[in-house]
């Protein structure tokens, strides 16, 4: 920690926690820059923490003597010294990081050497000095048996779409305009040309979704991705996809807004935009993975629904999910679902808007199919025939059909799962990347004897069929969201329950402790006991 980092992060550290500072960085100038009137290392303000003063810059500088680097280069390596110290403190093996350094700086061996030396010096410092009285051992996480790799949400998303393309037996077309934090998906997919993936860096967000719609019209799996501001631009075209009922997947990697907002920071505030941000009643299916690993499966799920129901599906991720990494159990290809659908080729009885009785999907008759020449478009269509129609009753019927098609998906998705008692005092209901913080907070309170359960929605439209039953089975429902209460509003409106929102929009994910405290506060208001 230097003074700036100390100031920014101290609030996150519980009393009694260990604080390791680079005392070399606590110069008068650095202190003044972030507004410290006195040096917190010496004025007694850090009493409630366990402070370790380490002259990291000096020690690291000495360790790198003789390598012929500039002072600036030496200074840049000091984080590896700190990392080495952490390796010692937690008794971890450094081989992985050493290999990573060699790989990352393979073209600049002198920099690789300096970083490795800094890493070792930090480790050795921990071992030879006696300022730390304790070391910590974190046992390996209890993971299910299997083959694993680390993966971020964006990586898993991209892999999921390639897998979906294979499973459906159709080429993937990915139209995209650069935007943080969604661009990584474009970068990754652009490298998968040998999987038949066609990527298209469009001139703008509208062209990106327009081209995707064109590709789907041609029988490919057309998709696009963006973040909030780009999704806003795509909405008219998304409405077209609703009207012409073509399969399409739109990824929204949400970030902090409104407007440009804080592009690199996370938020979950596009839910209402995605559900209701288009002209007229314009229903789309919406899925939202909860962890980086889940991004893979929900990418496939988004496509399963899009193809089966001939509908646009919005896949909601966010900056936290996109860049967060975790171990991912690599699935066996045999475990993945088949999501293939057939094009319509039969001339007999073909009508562009004659629907499948079960799914209400219209036929996918792609150009090149003889005898099925027909016209589609954004104008209202006559039921079944698909010709332009201004008939009042027909429009009403088509609006209901479009709605019923999406609502019907509820019978084709798993019920909302509850972690904890099936009924009780408090349900904490979340969606998207809040999963980890909510689950840990709920488990802490469960271990203290509270009657509390957790449910995480992965489908926002339609909601799982049992959602109403679940939210009605507890005395209170708490809905934490990184927005000002969007899911809360939907749940309150739909199920007429007095859901309580917990809403913080700081561009950061929730902390476990704050959710635990909020849940405990609500439990106390109904007289529930927590040990």
């Amino acid at each position: 920690m230097n003074p700036a980092a100390l100031k920014a992060n101290l609030g996150e550290l519980p009393a009694g926690g260990a604080l390791i500072v680079n005392e070399d960085a606590f110069t008068a100038q650095n202190l003044q820059k972030v507004g410290y009137a006195a040096n917190p290392l010496t004025d007694g303000s850090l009493k409630q923490w366990n402070v370790f003063n380490v002259p990291i810059s000096t020690l690291n500088g000495r360790a790198l003597e003789g390598l012929g680097l500039t002072n600036k280069q030496v200074d840049l390596t000091k984080n590896f010294f700190a990392l080495g110290l952490m390796f010692w403190l937690y008794e971890r093996d450094m081989a992985g990081t050493t290999a990573w350094i060699d790989d990352k700086f393979s073209k600049r061996p002198e920099i690789a050497e300096a970083n490795k030396r800094a890493l070792k010096a930090g480790y050795n410092f921990g071992e030879t000095t006696e300022i730390f009285h304790e070391r910590y051992i974190v046992p390996p996480a209890k993971l299910a048996a299997g083959h694993y790799r680390n993966i971020t949400g964006n990586e898993a998303t991209a892999l999921g779409f390639v897998a979906a393309s294979k499973l459906a037996g159709r080429d993937l077309f990915y139209g995209s305009y650069p935007i943080t934090p969604a661009s990584d998906i474009l970068h990754q997919l652009a490298g998968y040309k040998n999987f038949g993936v066609k990527t298209f860096q469009a001139e703008d967000e509208i062209a990106a979704i327009g081209a995707a719609i064109g590709a789907s019209y041609g029988g490919a799996m057309g998709m696009t991705a963006s973040s909030g501001p780009g999704i806003a631009l795509k909405q008219e075209a998304l409405g077209l996809a609703v009207m012409v009922e073509l399969p399409l997947v739109v990824v929204d990697v949400q970030r902090s807004g409104p407007s440009t907002g804080m592009p690199t920071k996370t938020e979950q505030a596009d839910l209402l935009q995605v559900l209701y941000g288009r002209n007229s009643d314009s229903p789309v299916a919406v899925v939202a993975p909860a962890t980086p690993s889940e991004c893979f499966l929900y990418a496939i799920e988004a496509w399963r629904l899009a193809l089966k129901y001939m509908t646009p599906v919005v896949y909601m991720s966010d900056a936290f999910l996109a860049t967060g990494a975790e171990p991912w159990r690599i699935p066996s290809l045999d475990d993945l679902p088949s999501i293939a659908v057939e094009n319509r080729t039969e001339r007999e009885g073909f009508y562009p808007y004659l629907r499948d009785e079960t799914t209400l999907a219209r036929p996918w008759a792609v150009p090149g199919t003889p005898g099925l020449e027909h016209r589609i478009g954004g104008l209202e269509k006559a039921d079944i025939l698909g010709n332009v129609s201004y008939d009042p009753e027909n429009h009403h019927r088509m609006q209901l059909l479009r709605q019923a098609k999406i609502a019907g998906i509820a019978g084709d998705i798993p019920p909302l799962e509850v972690h904890g008692p099936a009924e009780g005092d408090l349900l904490v209901l979340g969606w998207g990347s809040t999963y980890g913080a909510i689950r840990s907070a709920v488990e802490r309170l469960q271990s203290k004897g509270a009657s509390i359960a957790h449910a995480q929605l992965r489908y926002l439209n339609p909601l799982p069929a049992n959602t109403g039953e679940v939210v009605s089975s507890y005395k209170r429902v708490l809905i934490p969201e990184v927005n000002l209460g969007q899911l809360s509003m939907l749940i309150r409106a739909r199920f007429l329950i007095d859901a309580i929102g917990y809403n913080r929009v700081r561009g950061k994910p929730f902390r476990i402790a704050e959710l635990e405290a909020e849940a405990e506060r609500i439990l106390q208001t109904i007289g529930a006991t927590v040990r």
Binding site: K198, I206, Y217, G218, P331, P367, E373, G377, V388
Partner: protein, 360 residues
């Protein structure tokens, strides 16, 4: 079917939508204009120039050797946007200005199709300007036909990007204060590989122009001067009327001197670097002094894009015609190359890439 037609494109050779191998020939049923007429009632205003464009479009379709199921018409919003409903091919009436973007995706996914975009001056040059520019510069193999009537017709008569300065319309009762844009100059700046202009009522010329556009491979832009008899009647009458057109329009022929006039006695000559109208036989001017049209010359094209009545005759015909690799071809080539150097994608290997470990 001539050999020439056989080589038009991937989709042109096979009736089932899949490209046949090089040199393979499949007998196609002989199609006529009637095969391209849909069962939908045409609903443009009586007397609209769009009827003629539709008729010429239907007429040239059999010439390209594509089975009709391999032809797609995509449109945006405006009176022109209705055309796909009247073509008995595949058709997609999309949203305002976005047809070139949708066509780009379709053509990328399906190189075997022949794709046309039908648009208007508002649709293409105003709300859809960005997509027009970028589909042209990418050399997307799509034929864009822009009906230019210098007015918003469907919304009942507002000024468009091609309306002349000072034009009084419903949205500009004191006259527009916006300078108009030259569609051909936009297409040139965007590096379209084929650029042409024709007139709705000059049916023979229009047919010839659409035929050439259909045979081009790459981004194709055709401006059709079209009369809106309700909201901008007579917009081009000064030079397109039968009595005056020969004297006031210049019909471009590649490799031929730029001659016009009822008596074929007028021409365009360069005076230093600027064009001027001259009369053959006057002041010692002979045909040899005239500028010769070259469809590959960017400076001639730029000059032609700015000639307009009454200072000059209005040029019609093919302004520019270049052979360049198309967007879908380059995309397919990259995929073929990646597949040949790295092997066809192996999903199992992809999922297991990088550092992995096993938990027992």
């Amino acid at each position: 079917m001539t050999d020439d037609k056989m080589e038009n494109g991937n989709g042109a050779r096979s009736a089932n939508g899949a490209a046949a191998g090089a040199g393979a020939t499949v007998e196609l049923p002989v199609l006529t204009r009637k095969d391209f007429v849909s069962d939908q009632e045409v609903r443009w205003c009586p007397g609209c120039g769009d009827y003629s464009i539709l008729a010429q479009t239907q007429k040239v379709m059999p010439d390209f050797g594509y089975p009709k199921e391999n032809i797609v018409f995509i449109s945006g919003i405006g009176c022109s946007g209705r055309l796909p409903y009247y073509m008995n091919t595949y058709g997609f009436h999309t949203i305002h200005g976005r047809a070139p973007a949708i066509a780009t995706g379709l053509k990328a996914a399906r190189p075997d199709l022949m794709v046309w975009v039908i648009t208007g001056d508002g649709d293409a040059l105003s709300i859809g300007g960005n997509h027009l520019i970028h589909s042209l510069r990418r050399n997307v193999d799509v034929r864009i036909v822009m009906f230019n009537n210098r007015i918003y017709g469907l919304t009942k008569g507002q000024a468009s990007p091609t309306s002349e300065l000072g034009k009084v319309t419903k949205s500009s009762p004191y006259g527009t204060i916006d300078f108009p844009v030259s569609p051909l100059a936009i297409a040139l700046a965007a590096e379209a590989s084929f650029i042409a202009r024709s007139v709705d009522t000059h049916t023979e010329h229009l047919q010839k122009t659409l035929e050439a556009a259909g045979k081009h491979r790459g981004s194709t832009f055709v401006e059709v001067l079209q009369n809106c008899n309700i909201f901008n009647d007579g917009a081009f009458r000064d030079f397109t009327d039968r009595e005056v057109r020969e004297d006031r329009m210049l019909i471009l022929e590649n490799g031929q001197p730029m001659i016009f006039g009822k008596d074929r006695d007028k021409g365009i000559r360069l005076n230093k670097h600027l064009p001027e109208v001259v009369t053959i036989g006057e002041n010692g001017v002979s045909e040899a002094d005239l500028l010769v049209h070259d469809e590959t010359d960017p400076l001639i094209a730029w000059m032609l894009a700015h000639l307009w009545w009454p200072d000059f005759p209005v040029p019609v015909g093919i302004v520019r015609n270049l052979t360049r690799p198309t967007h879908d071809q380059m995309l397919s080539d990259q995929i073929a190359q990646a597949t040949s150097t790295r092997g066809a994608g192996d999903l199992k290997r992809l999922l297991n890439a990088g550092e992995t470990w096993t938990v027992e």
